[in-house]
């Protein structure tokens, strides 16, 4: 069957079951009452003063009685410094556990070391918002027995509470925790900030282990994760590389191209009419996206505009804008650098939120629905404004869905920033390899060679043109780009589907096919 984007989606897929084709960003949601049921969370009991402490991670894992075919989950708040996923998977593999489903909120190049367990049958399926590096390449080459499922950050919450992802064991890293499992990422030597993606796992997993390098006196405050959901607590020497977990400040890019695109995007936002007192704003941490914040900050100061809230993944640049009074509050589901952790801990108006409140489509309204402006990146964008943020130019999985489709559907103004081509690879093109976010959610594309407004937003085009901004037809831009780069040969794939891309409501927006080599 074909979905709304005319992409072929099989009715059923081994390892997943029935597939529901994507029907439009709000076709399911506008009913207001979802047919999917919430699965019951487990009922457990603990005797007073019984200890949850385990000597090491292996002991804790053994106590959970692991078995073949289980689903394990992790959050990705340790960023590029994560070593916990590898440690845990290795323990399970050494115990001879097979056929594991790995349901991490996202996988990065820090997880490359688990590649052998993709190939030996230890891990046979992955649910994640993103997969990168060696793992993403292996998935596209067909290393996993069952298809990869890519979900958005909001979609993951939905998948967990509707039982699409049934977590048997959640292993949650924290930078500080007490003996009962109250835990936080906001302080400690490995502080990483918000634990927004971990909350849902703690509520729904059959068993939960909290792992920390920093046991603090009971009770651990603040309680990002609370003890009533936690089975075991482990103190380890290290949860990963602290320089990559807690290090660094995200800096605004110095790349002239990114800055130029960001400058144009800020002009677009200014002239769109959305940049006004009380506006809410989200930007990604990537080159051009984050740089937009620099120019928005300048405009807000010049025009004395005070915003309402910043949302999402938070960088130290967002914290600067909060401290300058440009925004009243930050709602933080994930912190991108060290400076953010201390603000999260100390500033009352910098608030940690769980992923469900951030972006879950199946509730009475997530915060992405209240966004005025979001700025997002793209690996590719087609002439219908459909965006790929998951597969690279070789067809490998090398990106993340993240909050892309969640924020794009919620925001009044969704701005995509990207160069029109990179190296010789066209970015703006007739057809993208994989659709993650449907074009209906994208309002305007900003590139160095032109600004294109979705034809469904004529009033936006009129506003921009009235503000002196030249608007180009996206089809003309794609032609112009192809004239420069030449026509790229499409990626060759086999018929085998190695992954599906879920839209945030759980329908299938695209499939990922095995790369032919």
């Amino acid at each position: 069957m074909k979905n709304k984007l005319q992409i072929d989606i099989p009715n059923e897929l081994d390892g997943i079951g029935r597939l529901e084709p994507f029907q439009g960003a709000f076709t399911k949601l506008k009913k207001g009452w979802m047919e999917e049921e919430t699965v019951p969370p487990p009922n457990k009991a603990k005797m007073p003063h019984a200890s949850k402490m385990c000597a090491n991670l292996k002991e804790a894992i053994l106590k959970t009685k692991p078995y073949n075919g289980m689903t394990i989950s992790f959050h990705h708040h340790l960023r590029g410094g994560d070593n916990l996923v590898y440690e845990a998977v290795k323990i399970l593999a050494d115990l001879g556990i097979k056929d594991i489903t790995l349901a991490a909120s996202s996988l990065t190049t820090a997880h490359d070391p688990i590649l052998p367990y993709f190939k030996d049958g230890t891990i046979t399926q992955v649910y994640a918002s993103g997969v990168r590096g060696e793992l993403g390449k292996a998935v596209a080459q067909g290393a996993l027995e069952k298809p990869l499922v890519i979900h958005s950050h909001g979609g993951r919450v939905r998948s967990v509470h509707t039982g699409k992802i049934k977590i048997d064991l959640a292993i949650l890293a924290a930078s500080a925790a007490d003996e009962e499992g109250n835990a936080t990422g906001s302080h400690g030597p490995s502080a990483f900030g918000s634990m927004g993606y971990a909350a849902i796992d703690s509520w729904y997993a059959r068993q939960v282990i909290v792992v920390t390098d920093n046991i603090v006196d009971y009770p651990c405050v603040p309680q990002s994760i609370t003890q009533n959901y936690i089975d075991y607590v482990v103190k380890v020497d290290s949860i990963g590389d602290p320089s990559k977990i807690a290090g660094g400040t995200t800096r605004i890019t110095r790349a002239p191209m990114d800055l130029q695109i960001a400058r144009l995007a800020a002009q677009v936002i200014e002239k769109s009419g959305e940049l006004k007192d009380g506006f809410s704003f989200q930007v990604g941490a990537g080159g051009a996206s984050l740089a937009v914040a620099k120019y928005i900050r300048k405009i807000m100061k010049q025009r004395s505009i005070k915003g309402s809230f910043l949302l999402g993944g938070v960088t130290s640049y967002g914290v600067v804008m909060l401290n300058e009074g440009l925004f009243r509050s930050i709602f933080d589901v994930q912190s991108f650098d060290a400076a953010v952790s201390s603000s999260l801990l100390n500033n009352t108006y910098h608030i940690e939120i769980p992923a469900g409140l951030y972006a879950n489509p199946f509730n009475c309204g997530c915060m992405t629905n209240k966004l005025d402006v979001v700025v997002l990146g793209a690996l590719e964008i087609d002439t219908n404004f459909n965006v790929n943020v998951i597969t690279g130019s070789e067809g490998y999985v090398r990106g993340a869905s993240g909050g892309h489709s969640d924020t794009a559907s919620g925001a009044n103004l969704t701005v995509v920033v990207c160069p029109s081509f990179r190296g010789r690879i066209p970015i703006v093109k007739e057809k993208v390899h994989t659709v993650v976010t449907p074009g209906e959610s994208i309002d305007v594309l900003v590139t160095e060679r032109g600004i294109c407004v979705n034809p469904a937003r004529p009033e936006l085009k009129a506003n921009l043109e009235a503000g002196g901004i030249k608007v180009k037809d996206i089809k003309d831009l794609a032609v112009e780009v192809e004239k420069i780069t030449g026509k790229a040969k499409p990626i060759e794939t086999t018929d085998r589907i190695v992954g599906i891309v879920e839209y945030r409501d759980g329908t299938v927006i695209d499939v990922i096919r095995q790369v032919a080599e």
Binding site: P256, E448, I484
Partner: protein
């Protein structure tokens, strides 16, 4: 013979090293009013052939639409200059920038070569313009005559680094040493009613210093400034773009002028200040810089 009217704004002209494909292919996207494809100082002596060939292929492939394209060639007396002219003149960029011009004889010699090449290729002499760079003390002394030598010379620019070296200045960054030269060159340009560009600001990290210098040279009368890093463009464009207040005032003056003209009045007052022809001229210039068409008022 009058050179064709320049239609580009000239607040910022971005230098692009002639042997750098990544920068050449993106040259026009950074918002500079013009780009200077450089075959001279930005190219190693053993890559002059490569740069020349690369620039000529790029110019024929990439659209630099909306950007004035100027090629800076090597001086005619170097081993590279003549070959540069032979390959660049037939491509007819918007302009050629001639470095280290010192005397009228020199400019005459170069323009003769250019026109010979144009004749060989059956090209008109009134399309491609010529910019002279003044980079020596002798050049500064002769600038008025040099700039007036040919009507196709439509801009002068000052090369601050080389001039400071020629003047044996130890510290060149504060601009004091080249201040006289700047003013002399501006005056020569104004006398010939042509444009005049300032030298580059070398400290890319110092945004405040750049803004200060841009504001200073704007006051001196420069048309715009050469840029060495795309990150500098925004600041200089901002300095050379009229503020809202300036625009409002200019609109008022031009409107009052039109009204009074109809009644045959030449000198009148706006907001209590006398307005005569030069004031109106300046107001029109402000509106031009702000992209406001007079007909639309």
């Amino acid at each position: 013979m009058k050179a064709k009217q320049n239609t580009f704004k000239r607040r910022t002209m971005l230098y692009i090293p002639g042997n750098n494909p990544a920068m050449l292919q993106q040259g026009s996207v950074y918002g500079a009013d013009g780009i200077l494809l450089d075959l001279e100082d930005a190219v190693a002596l053993n890559q002059k052939d490569a740069a020349r060939i690369l620039v000529s292929h790029m110019m024929q492939y990439v659209s630099y639409e909306g950007c004035e394209v100027t090629v800076r060639v090597n001086h005619i007396d170097t081993p590279f200059g003549l070959e540069d002219l032979k390959q660049m003149v037939p491509l007819q960029p918007d302009a050629l920038r001639l470095p280290k011009v010192e005397t009228v004889d020199e400019i005459k010699r170069i323009i003769d070569v250019i026109e010979e090449i144009e004749n060989e290729h059956q090209l008109q002499h009134d399309q491609m313009k010529v910019h002279v760079m003044i980079e020596t003390a002798l050049g500064v002394q002769n600038v008025f005559d040099i700039a007036g030598y040919s009507p196709r010379i439509d801009a002068i620019s000052i090369g601050g680094q080389d001039l400071a070296a020629d003047m044996q200045l130890v510290k060149a960054n504060d601009g004091i040493g080249i201040d006289y030269a700047r003013k002399q060159i501006v005056m020569a340009a104004k006398a010939h009613k042509i444009d005049v560009f300032d030298t580059v600001y070398v400290d890319v990290e110092d945004e405040d210093g750049l803004r200060e210098e841009a504001e200073y040279i704007k006051k001196l009368g420069f048309t715009g400034k050469a840029i060495i890093n795309p990150r500098q463009i925004e600041i200089v464009n901002e300095v050379f773009t009229p503020t809202e207040q300036e625009i409002r005032k200019a609109v008022k003056i031009v409107k009052a002028f039109e009204r009074n003209k109809a009644e045959g009045i030449g000198v009148f007052a706006v907001d209590g200040k006398m307005v005569d022809a030069p004031v109106v001229q300046r107001a029109i210039r402000v509106l031009e810089m702000a992209d406001i068409e007079l007909e639309s008022l």
